[in-house]
C-alpha cells in the first residue's frame, strides 16, 4: 500500500531521508510552510522560501519517486512580527494560485496572541477566496484551549469544516475536532506530541474516519518514517489493512484533492524516478549513477 505523509518539512531533511521514505512506501507528501527555527526578518526571505517549496524541493522529491505538494502561509509564530505579517500575507496572493499548492498552511495559534488571531482569520478568508483547504497548527502550550478557539474561529468565520485539517491532536482534543466536522491530524514525534502506540489506541476507539497521521519531521529531533512506523503499530494491535490505508493514504488524498490541484488517483502507485533530469541546471546527484525507473514503474 502506498503511504502519504501529509505534514513534513523536507527542506530541513537530507536525501538519505528521501531514500528511506521511498523505501518504506511513502509515495506522496505535503510540505506546509512553517517556522524555520529562527525568525525571518524580511518579506523577501519568505518569497524565496515559497519559491523553494514550489521549485527545488518538489524536484528533489521527484528524484526519489515521491510526489511533493505544498501548503503556503504565514505561520502563527511569525505572525507576531507585525511589521512583517501584512507583507507576507500580501505575497501569498501571488503564490496561492500556483500548481502544487494544495492548501493554505500552517496557520493557527501558537502563543494565542491578538496578531496571531488576526493573521489566522485573514488567512482563512484567503483560503476561501482561493478555494483551498487549510492546514491548521494547534499550539504546544495551552493546547486544548487553543484547539477549541480554533474550532470556534472556523465556525464563526463560516469556514467549511470539511476543508479544515486541524493538526497535532492528542487524547484531549480529538473528540472536539471530529465533532466539529473538521479532519484531525496527528503528528507522531519521538518524545512529545503523540507516539505510535497512543495513536493506535486512539484509532481503536475512534476508527479511521477523517483521521490522518504525519511525521511533522523538521530540523529538530523528529523521524520522517513515523507514518510507516505508525501503520505498523496499528497493524500490531489488530487494526485492519483497510482502516490503515484509509488513514495513511485515502484520507490525505481526499482531503487535499479538495484543492482541485492534486493530480493523483486514490489507487496511484509511486511516481517514476528519472534522476537524469535537472532542475535549473541542478542535480541532486554528486557523481553517482542516475536511477531510472520505467515510466509508471513501482518504486521498490
Amino acid at each position: 500500500m502506498p503511504l502519504f505523509d501529509p505534514h513534513i518539512h523536507m527542506t530541513s531533511r537530507t536525501t538519505d531521508d528521501y531514500q528511506a521514505m521511498a523505501a518504506a512506501g511513502i509515495a506522496a507528501i505535503v510540505e506546509p510552510a512553517f517556522w524555520v527555527g529562527q525568525p525571518r526578518t524580511h518579506v523577501g526571505t519568505f518569497e524565496d522560501y515559497f519559491l523553494s517549496l514550489l521549485g527545488w524541493e518538489r524536484f528533489r522529491a521527484q528524484q526519489f519517486g515521491i510526489r511533493h505538494f505544498c501548503a503556503l502561509a504565514l505561520n502563527p509564530k511569525e505572525a507576531n512580527n507585525e511589521a512583517l505579517a501584512s507583507g507576507v500575507i500580501d505575497l501569498l496572493r501571488q503564490y496561492l494560485e500556483k500548481d502544487g499548492v494544495v492548501a493554505v498552511g500552517e496557520i493557527g495559534y501558537d502563543d494565542q496572541t491578538e496578531p496571531e488571531h488576526r493573521c489566522f482569520a485573514e488567512q482563512l478568508a484567503l483560503a476561501r477566496e482561493f478555494e483551498l483547504p487549510v492546514l491548521i497548527h494547534t499550539p504546544h502550550r495551552d493546547k486544548k484551549r487553543g484547539t477549541l478557539r480554533t474550532l470556534e474561529l472556523i465556525k464563526d468565520s463560516q469556514f467549511p469544516p470539511e476543508l479544515a485539517l486541524v493538526d497535532h491532536n492528542n487524547e484531549e482534543t480529538l473528540d472536539a475536532v471530529l465533532h466539529s466536522g473538521c479532519w484531525a491530524g496527528h503528528s507522531i514525534y519521538p518524545a512529545t506530541k503523540m507516539d505510535e502506540t497512543r495513536m493506535a489506541a486512539l484509532v481503536k476507539t475512534h476508527g479511521p474516519d477523517r483521521i490522518l497521521v504525519n511525521s511533522a519531521a523538521d530540523w529538530g529531533v523528529s523521524d520522517p518514517l513515523k507514518v510507516p512506523k505508525t501503520a505498523q503499530a496499528m497493524r500490531e494491535v489488530g487494526i485492519g489493512e483497510s482502516a490503515i490505508e484509509t488513514i495513511c493514504w485515502r484520507n490525505p488524498v481526499q482531503f487535499f484533492a479538495q484543492s482541485g490541484r492534486m493530480d493523483i488517483a486514490l489507487g496511484a502507485s509511486a511516481a517514476a524516478v528519472d534522476q537524469r533530469r535537472l532542475w535549473e541546471g541542478n542535480s541532486v546527484l554528486r557523481g553517482q549513477a542516475p536511477r531510472i525507473d520505467e515510466p509508471h514503474g513501482k518504486v521498490g
Binding site: T41, T113, R141, E171, E172
Partner: protein, 219 residues
C-alpha cells in the same frame, strides 16, 4: 570587572567604554566592540566571591552570579552608550542589536533588559527572546531575571512560564512568580498537567510552584 580581564583586554575594554560613553551606539567603534567582546574577554562565568558581593552592595544586582564575562562586558558597554543617546535611538539600538544578534549577543541583551533606561519599552524584545527556539534565552529570562515579572503583559508572562515547564527549565529562581501567579496561569498549568497525564507522560515537579501557589516564595 577589570580584575577578571586578561592583561591585554583591560585597555581594550576601557577604550571601548570611553568611546561608547562619548558617542553612543551609533558609530562603528561601538559595533566593533559589541561584536568583538567574546574574542577579547572570553566567555568564562563571572562568579563573585562573598566579599565582592558585600563590597558591591546594592550594585551587586547589576553583576549577578551566572553571567558570563562577554555577556557582562556587552551589558556594561550598552549601558555606557545609553547615557548619550535619545530615547528613540536607545529603543532602535536595542531592537536592532537583538534582531541582528548572534546567540551570545542576544543572551547579553536578555540579561541586561531590566537595567536599561525605561525598561518597559523592551517587552517586545523579551517576547522574542521567550519565543526563540534557543532555550538559553528562555533560561536567562526565568533564571534570576527580574524583568519578566516587572514588565511582561500577562499572556507573555504565562506563555514564558508554561514554555519553561514544557522544556524542563527550572522556575525555582524566577523572581516575582508568586506575585504573577494568576488564576489564568493556574488554569494553563493545570491544563498542561491534565494533557501530560492523559498522554502517560511525566509531569514536571515545578508545576507545584504554580498550582500550589507559593506567594513570593521565589523572590
Amino acid at each position: 570587572m577589570s580584575a577578571r580581564l586578561s592583561f591585554a583586554a583591560v585597555p581594550w575594554f576601557a577604550d571601548a567604554l570611553a568611546a561608547a560613553a562619548q558617542r553612543g551606539a551609533t558609530d562603528r567603534t561601538f559595533l566593533a566592540a559589541w561584536n568583538g567582546m567574546g574574542r577579547h574577554l572570553g566567555g568564562a562565568p563571572v562568579l563573585l566571591s562573598q566579599t565582592e558581593m558585600a563590597t558591591l552592595g546594592s550594585e551587586a544586582a547589576v553583576a549577578p552570579q551566572r553571567w558570563a564575562l562577554d555577556e557582562l562586558g556587552r551589558a556594561v558597554l550598552l549601558l555606557s552608550a545609553m547615557d548619550v543617546m535619545t530615547p528613540e535611538q536607545q529603543e532602535r539600538t536595542v531592537v536592532e542589536l537583538f534582531r541582528k544578534g548572534e546567540l551570545r549577543q542576544q543572551q547579553a541583551l536578555a540579561r541586561v533588559l531590566g537595567y536599561l533606561p525605561d525598561p518597559g519599552r523592551f517587552v517586545g524584545v523579551a517576547a522574542d527572546a521567550i519565543r526563540s527556539n534557543a532555550l538559553s534565552l528562555l533560561e536567562i529570562m526565568v533564571g534570576g531575571n527580574a524583568f519578566p515579572a516587572m514588565h511582561l503583559p500577562e499572556l507573555t508572562f504565562n506563555q514564558m512560564v508554561v514554555k519553561a515547564l514544557f522544556n524542563d527549565i527550572s522556575l525555582q529562581h524566577l523572581p516575582g512568580l508568586g506575585r504573577r501567579c494568576t488564576s489564568e496561569l493556574v488554569r494553563m498549568v493545570r491544563a498542561m498537567v491534565s494533557e501530560r497525564t492523559a498522554a502517560g507522560r511525566p509531569v514536571p515537579a515545578d508545576v507545584a510552584l504554580i498550582t500550589q501557589g507559593e506567594p513570593d516564595a521565589t523572590v
